[in-house]
């Protein structure tokens, strides 16, 4: 599903700053991969580059999604292909209501892919169901997007969007940071309930604890812009015990 070769990335604003220094990664359909690593190693950059954040510039390498390069695609075109990123720091947007925003997002994808749009009634039903399922305060979600939300509520709102948009590849950028155990479980349930043979997940995390609830197929350790080790779920347990010291020179 996702195939990355020799990916080098720097800052758009400053060519001398190099963050990712040659990443190779293959995430087959239906698999859950975890990207772990110390702070400053490039995890979040990696997630954001996949979504197309303009702050980063790809100097060499390729990113293919379902066999096609997505390097030249803007974020919205990537979303239309079914790529989703849950933000580490969801943005507060005054005056934009989650309901209208998500309806517009779905409509825009339907337009781009030639699918039939949901009627207002169908969408309302889906939205209301998911609000209950994710456990977001129904009054809160009527207000502006993320404005006045606590850290946990913002993360739940990311899961709500994941549930409604039903992407093919979901990138979870440190969705577990700053969450209490209850919120962590909501995030994990969100991911687990959506696991399917034609959907993949990339879980970016510093800690192993989220992986207690979401069992990854593969774990990659990202240090200083490179994947330095890849293994099964046991690798996450190992770094939880011994830390990232051994990878740092």
């Amino acid at each position: 599903m996702l195939k990355i070769s020799d990916l080098h990335v720097g800052l758009t604003a400053d060519n001398n700053v190099k963050i990712l220094k040659g990443i190779d990664l293959d995430v087959p359909s239906g698999e859950v991969h975890a990207i772990m690593g110390p702070n400053g190693g490039g995890k979040s950059t990696f997630a954001n580059v996949l979504m197309g954040r303009p702050d980063y510039q790809i100097t060499t390498g390729t990113i293919e999604f379902k066999g096609e390069s997505i390097l030249d695609l803007p974020p919205d075109a990537r979303a239309h292909l079914g790529i989703f990123m849950a933000f580490q720091y969801p943005v507060e947007i005054p005056g934009v209501r989650p309901f209208q925003f998500l309806k517009a997002a779905l409509d825009s994808r339907a337009d781009a892919t030639g699918q039939k749009k949901l009627s207002a009634r169908e969408f309302t039903k889906r939205f209301d169901e998911k609000v209950v399922q994710v456990g977001i305060n129904a009054n809160l979600i009527k207000r502006s997007l993320n404005e006045g939300f606590s850290g946990g509520e913002k993360k739940r709102n990311e899961i709500l969007q994941l549930e409604i948009l039903q992407p093919v590849l979901a990138i979870m950028d440190e969705t577990d940071s700053g969450l209490d155990v209850d919120a962590l479980k909501i995030v994990a349930e969100g991911v687990n309930s959506q696991r399917s043979p034609d959907r993949s997940f990339l879980i970016v995390t510093h800690y192993q604890r989220l992986l207690n609830y979401i069992k990854p197929d593969r774990v990659h350790i990202l240090v200083d812009g490179k994947i330095v080790e890849t293994g099964g779920p046991e690798l996450a347990v190992k770094v939880e015990k011994s830390g990232y010291k051994e990878y740092l020179t």
């Binding site: 303009p54 974020p75 990123m85 943005v91 005056g95 825009s108 948009l165």
Partner: protein, 444 residues
């Protein structure tokens, strides 16, 4: 000095006045006020000199003073043609002015409840309170209105009366072959312990440069509550210099929301005097400018007595080469202890060519007060844009959503359903123009 030597800008209005010579006198008292006003205006002229003139420092009135206008009493317009262009509901008390002249019952017969009376100046000699709040010599444009006023209405709400339906006053300049100048006048008296909603809208249905110089005086008695809305949306060649003067007695409440867009030069000049204890006022507004428009918001509040609360909160969206001014002033006089006042002005700048001059100012002469102020100016936030795009919205749609989102908290203040839909639709219609005149996002 020869008798008829005036600065150029005065001469123009002098000549305009000459065309009105045949109009009969409105009575000695009014003639006296008009003379005071003319003497004041002819000594100042249109304020073109900006340096050192705080009131006009950031607004260039030369395009106004370079344009010639005519007066009209022509109101021969088919009302059917304009009903879709104005905010109104058949359930409101609708008062229509066409080309500066009051047209009674033109949007359906006024069926006024007891305690509410509306009289027009021309036919009912309702000039008793004329100029009590907007003095004839209190400023260039209050003076010009006093000199030229053609028609106006006086609205009286008796004590202990709750007026359920909004009083909706619409000033329309219709398709005319000339550059019209209109000088409408409204006096509103809200009786003790009474409550009402008033809407003022200024609309043009012509592309000619028109000049609108309205004056609205509002007297609020003890415990009176007034919800006030003001919509300024004439065409992009026009000029609008509006003055609103409000006097509040004890424990009265004035809440105002304004929406300003459109004219080449627009000025929304509101002054509220909190004259007795425990009065409150909130002055809020949204201004949207593009092209080479100038919008000037001259917002001032005076706390004269203790325990009054006031707020000023304006938001601006600027595109193209437009300029805007927020000149907010709150004066807390000596002895006005326990005053609470805050003011802020937030701006979204959509292009490199715009200019915002924002000047929140507090002048405090009492020592036991709670006051704050602030102002910001920023571009579209890149993080927000990326967030919306990452969900599938294209760049333009995401940007439009952020612009609409910025305006939203002001739009929702227009609570009446028909009014909300009118303003909301208007903003949605303007956004593509703003987008086409936008060349900046983020911090670039």
């Amino acid at each position: 000095m020869p008798k008829h030597f005036f600065p150029e800008s005065v001469k123009k209005f002098h000549d305009l006045l000459e065309t009105r010579k045949s109009v009969p006198s409105l009575g000695t008292n009014i003639d006296v006020l008009k003379k005071i006003a003319w003497d004041y205006f002819s000594s100042t002229g249109i304020p073109l000199h900006r340096r050192g003139n705080e009131l006009w420092k950031y607004t260039n009135l030369k395009p106004l003073s370079d344009t010639s206008f005519t007066l009209s009493s022509d109101s021969d317009v088919n009302v059917e043609d304009i009903v879709n262009e104005i905010p109104w509901s058949k359930d409101w008390h609708n008062i229509l002015f066409i080309n500066g002249m009051y047209r009674p019952d033109s949007l359906g017969k006024l069926d006024l409840p007891s305690g509410l009376s509306i009289s027009d100046f021309q036919h009912n000699n309702m000039w008793a309170n004329f100029g009590s709040l907007a003095k004839p010599n209190s400023g260039t444009f209050a003076a010009l209105n006093t000199v030229f006023v053609q028609d106006g209405i006086s609205i009286k709400i008796e004590p202990d009366t709750k007026i359920r339906k909004p009083i909706n006053i619409i000033f329309v300049v219709s398709e005319v072959p000339r550059n019209f100048a209109t000088f409408p006048r409204v006096y509103l008296d809200v009786g003790e312990n009474s409550e009402a909603t008033m809407i003022e809208s200024y609309i043009s249905l012509t592309s000619h440069p028109i000049l609108t110089i309205p004056v609205v005086e509002i007297e609020q008695h003890t415990e009176a509550i007034l919800r006030h809305y003001r919509i300024q949306m004439e065409n992009e060649n026009s000029f609008h210099i509006g003055s609103t003067r409000v006097g509040q007695k004890g424990s009265s409440k004035f809440e105002s929301s304004t929406f300003a867009t459109g004219p080449r030069i627009g000025r929304n000049d509101i002054h509220v005097s909190l004259n007795e204890p425990d009065a409150t006022c909130q002055l809020h507004g949204l201004y949207i400018t593009f092209g080479d428009q100038q919008q000037d918001n001259e917002i001032s509040t005076t706390h004269s007595k203790p325990s009054c609360t006031s707020g000023q909160f304006y938001k601006g969206i600027l595109a193209g080469k437009s300029t805007a001014v927020f000149s907010g002033d709150i004066v807390v006089e000596k002895g006005a202890q326990k005053s609470i006042a805050d003011q802020k002005d937030l701006n979204l700048l959509l292009s490199k060519g715009v200019e915002i001059d924002t000047k929140p100012s507090l002048e405090i002469f009492a020592d036991d007060v709670q006051c704050s102020h602030g102002a910001t100016a920023g571009h579209i936030d890149l993080n927000s844009l990326f967030y919306l795009q990452s969900r599938g919205l294209d760049f333009n749609t995401a940007k439009a959503m952020l612009i609409r989102g910025f305006a939203d908290e002001m739009i929702v203040e227009f609570e009446l359903t028909e009014l909300f839909e009118f303003i909301s639709g208007l903003v949605d219609d303007i956004i593509p123009t703003l987008q086409s005149q936008s060349d900046t996002i983020g911090t670039t």
